[in-house]
């Protein structure tokens, strides 16, 4: 507080009496200056790795195929007229929303189970359940690809063993979409689990005791205490996962490569196909930017809600 108070007192002195070097020293000592200087490395990294590429992508999306002329929003116009791209929008939304919902539900269920395990066993299970999340997804997806293989599928082998039919996991559009979602959920659910577990641990035990005495059953405790108390973590985790899942590339690329017939393409894989494989970088940029306004809009309201609740509750 001292530097602030000195800054507040400073205007009372005659400005002429202050030599410039003193003013510089005072400026350098101000808390806001120090804070800015200390966060400058991070700001530079964000500017270099996020702000610049994002701005460049926006710029690219407004150019023609040969990147020689500014064409405004024409790339977006063309994309919206394209039937494949309209399918990509639908597929991306279906993929992201279904996968995030399943990850959130499975993550919550796992977190709840872990939370109620004795502390001794909890660490062991937590470690094992985190494994899918720490394996590089390209590598683990390759494993899943083997398990979904039309000829050697271990999953089909098990299904056959119990009298079930073989499933064309990656051959039929719907099964391929489901396979992509399964792998994404397998990979992402541990992240939800660990976030929800931390949130569950931060809910004071006495709130549950108070609710039990107030007459709450286990389900009512979950509905009226656990979920509202975890609302901020749930919102942030879902938002974060939604953004990451919409941008998912590696699972689709390794598992289906967008097929069959582009019916599992999502924004990122389609952007790669259009931008890199087909050599139309501006249109690829337009594909990758397509969801940006909607996600930014959702993020704004989610974070606003989180801030509001933080102010009221923390």
């Amino acid at each position: 507080m001292a530097p602030d108070s000195s800054a507040a007192v400073a205007p009372a002195r005659p400005p002429a009496a202050r030599p410039p070097s003193n003013a510089m020293k005072r400026f350098a000592r101000r808390r806001s200056t120090i804070a800015f200087l200390m966060t400058l490395p991070l700001i530079s990294v964000i500017a270099g790795l996020v702000a610049w590429p994002a701005s460049y992508a926006i710029y690219l999306a407004t150019l023609n195929r040969r990147m020689t002329a500014f064409i405004g929003l024409e790339n977006f116009d063309i994309l919206l007229d394209n039937e494949t791209f309209r399918a990509v929008i639908w597929q991306s939304c279906f993929f992201a929303i279904t996968a995030v919902l399943l990850k959130a539900l499975i993550g919550f269920w796992l977190a709840h189970m872990l939370h109620h395990l004795p502390t001794k066993g909890q660490r062991k299970w937590r470690g094992m359940l985190l494994v899918p999340w720490v394996i590089p997804p390209a590598l683990s997806t390759l494993g899943w690809w083997w398990m979904f293989d039309p000829s050697y599928s271990s999953i089909n082998y098990l299904l056959n063993a119990i009298g079930g039919p073989s499933i064309p996991w990656l051959g039929s559009p719907w099964w391929a979409r489901i396979s992509v979602i399964i792998v994404n959920v397998w990979y992402g659910a541990p992240f939800f689990m660990i976030m929800y577990l931390a949130a569950l641990k931060s809910v004071p035990e006495q709130l549950y005791e108070a609710a039990a005495i107030d007459g709450a059953s286990g389900w009512q405790g979950l509905r009226h205490i656990t979920l509202p108390m975890m609302q901020n973590i749930i919102s942030i985790t879902v938002l974060f996962s939604l953004i990451v899942t919409f941008a998912n590339y590696d699972i689709v690329r390794v598992l289906t490569n967008g097929g069959p017939r582009d019916l599992t393409q999502v924004f990122a894989s389609y952007a790669f196909q259009v931008g890199v494989l087909s050599g139309n970088i501006p249109r690829g940029a337009a594909v990758s930017l397509f969801m940006f306004p909607l996600l930014a809009f959702i993020a704004y309201f989610v974070l606003k809600g989180v801030n509001q609740r933080n102010k009221e509750m923390a």
């Binding site: 004071p204 108070a210 609710a211 039990a212 005495i213 007459g215 205490i225 509202p228 108390m229 509750m313």
Partner: protein, 366 residues
Amino acid sequence: MAQVTLRKIIKEYEGGVQAVKGIDLDIADHEFVVLVGPSGCGKSTTLRMIAGLEEITSGEIDIGGAVVNDVPPRDRDIAMVFQNYALYPHMSVYENMAFGLMLRKFPKEEIRRRVENAAKILDIGMLLDRKPKALSGGQRQRVAMGRAIVRDPKVFLFDEPLSNLDAKLRVQMRTEIKKVHQTVRTTTVYVTHDQVEAMTLADRVVVMNHGVIEQVGPPQELYHHPRTRFVAGFIGSPAMNFIPATVEARSGGLVLRLPQGIELAVPAARVAKYQAYAGKQVTFGIRPEHLTDTQHVSKADIAIFNAAPEVVEPMGMETLAHIRMEGAEICARLDPTVPAAPGVPMPLAADMGNMHLIDDATGLVI
């Protein structure tokens, strides 16, 4: 409203540690009972067992004539005020108070009537729309009490509800709790480690130590007639002085020989009671207010001796003199007008009519 009965209650944790060692207690309808004792004495565990938040290892708890050992907390018809209030931070004051009634599916109008009535009793009507974060400690405490009152339960349970408040607010809230009990008359079990709270609030005080009940009785009885050395030392502030002494027979009477050659005559009325201890080592107990300056005593059974205070603490309405003796440190309450200075010997009067003698072997007051 209901009576609460505890029968041979035992609470044993894993590893065989017994927190509560077979206590029996009868709490009458409308009664305000305070469980008091040092940390780890089992008072909070006992309260939580009554609430149903802790399982009972053995014994029986009866609320309103029904054994509730296997009844979950929500079906015991009790309300509890926690040490840190345990208000739901995402709910407004109104919602916090209405929550229990809402879960019990009370009509909305009835909920509103009860909440407004409780808010009126506790003077928190203007806070109903606020969230707990926007309340002061005292206001949160009131809301926690309001949450209990609206339920109109059979029993109120308070678990050290004033511990998180500053000294001034604690005194104020103590009075509030007493007023509320005088208004609603619900059977109340209150846990505290503060003997002043216990003395001021309780119809009966239950002193616990090491998982057992040392003594149960009205505050004045516990203060004037403690049954054990623990109760004598725990109840009262400053605590009772304990001085090692030998009982000696002298020409038909008894005297107590204290360290530094001090001899105090035992009142004639107590000689028969203490006769069996003649020649034995005991502990002499006397409260600081019964050890005072010689200028302001006029009672019979006064024994006078000289001592030099080590520390003198003027408190305004009284002065506390701390005296070091061989084997004991004692405290005397002096009139504030009496000049007392550290290191300067002064005559002190012990009111032997209020003395206590403790059997060192049993720890019981003789």
